[in-house]
């Protein structure tokens, strides 16, 4: 079955430290992959998508087909990055979401 795995429920880092939120997917084809973010008391929103190859708020994500991964990275974490992050994969006209990772950036 198509699945998105985010192995960490909680990732806690200090301000200025590098961040890597892990995401692995199971799919035999070439999926479209996304990262969605939910800040405290805000609605869930798109952070970035694989196809755009953008850097948003300093975050990047590279698709590694060999490892079936789409990890989210930022070289220097900021306190305002604290949020819930969901990795998602497009499958059959819909999205399959991972369980989410809470990122806490400590000062």
């Amino acid at each position: 079955a198509q699945r998105v795995t985010q192995p960490e429920k909680l990732l806690s880092v200090f301000k200025g430290a590098p961040v890597e939120l892990k995401c692995n997917y199971s799919y035999s084809g070439s999926p479209e992959l996304f990262w969605y973010v939910q800040y405290s008391r805000q609605r869930l929103q798109l952070l970035l998508r694989h196809i755009s190859r953008e850097s948003i708020k300093g975050f990047t994500a590279d698709l590694n087909k060999g490892e079936t991964s789409f990890h989210l990275k930022k070289p220097f974490a900021q306190e305002e990055d604290s949020a819930m992050y969901y990795c998602a994969m497009e499958y059959g006209n819909k999205l399959v979401f991972g369980a989410g990772t809470i990122l806490r950036v400590k000062s």
């Binding site: 998105v4 969605y36 609605r43 969901y86 497009e90 006209n93 999205l95 979401f97 369980a99």
Partner: protein
């Protein structure tokens, strides 16, 4: 900006009650979705709709039904609420059919079934 609104932020219902959750989007989007969000489980798709009067089951449709009589409105119905349906419910919409389109989410409805 796309605006997706949900009729209630918080609801408290009793077991066996019929519950209606309403979602409205104002951007003429084709697709609409209902998810439930639970800690440790992420977002799970209940139902989605890619056109008026069209609906498709998601991953966890049991105990739910939906209605899309108008393009802008997508309703989630719990025919007989149960305690295991206590959750946060998120509505979303996207422009076109196709999972690669950005989904825009509503603020969520937190439902407590007693």
């Amino acid at each position: 900006d796309v605006k997706v609104t949900q009729s209630s932020r918080y609801l408290v219902k009793r077991t066996g009650e019929k519950v209606f959750l309403e979602c409205v989007q104002d951007m003429d989007h084709e697709n609409m979705f209902w998810y439930r969000q639970d800690p440790g489980l992420g977002l799970r798709l209940i139902y989605f709709s890619y056109d008026v009067k069209m609906k498709e089951k998601g991953d966890i449709p049991e105990g739910y039904s939906v209605s899309r009589e108008k393009k802008e409105r997508f309703s989630l119905i719990l025919e007989s609420a149960s305690t295991n349906q206590t959750s946060m419910y998120l509505c979303a919409s996207s422009r076109d059919r196709g999972g690669q389109e950005t989904q825009y989410f509503g603020p969520g409805t937190r439902l407590l079934v007693l």
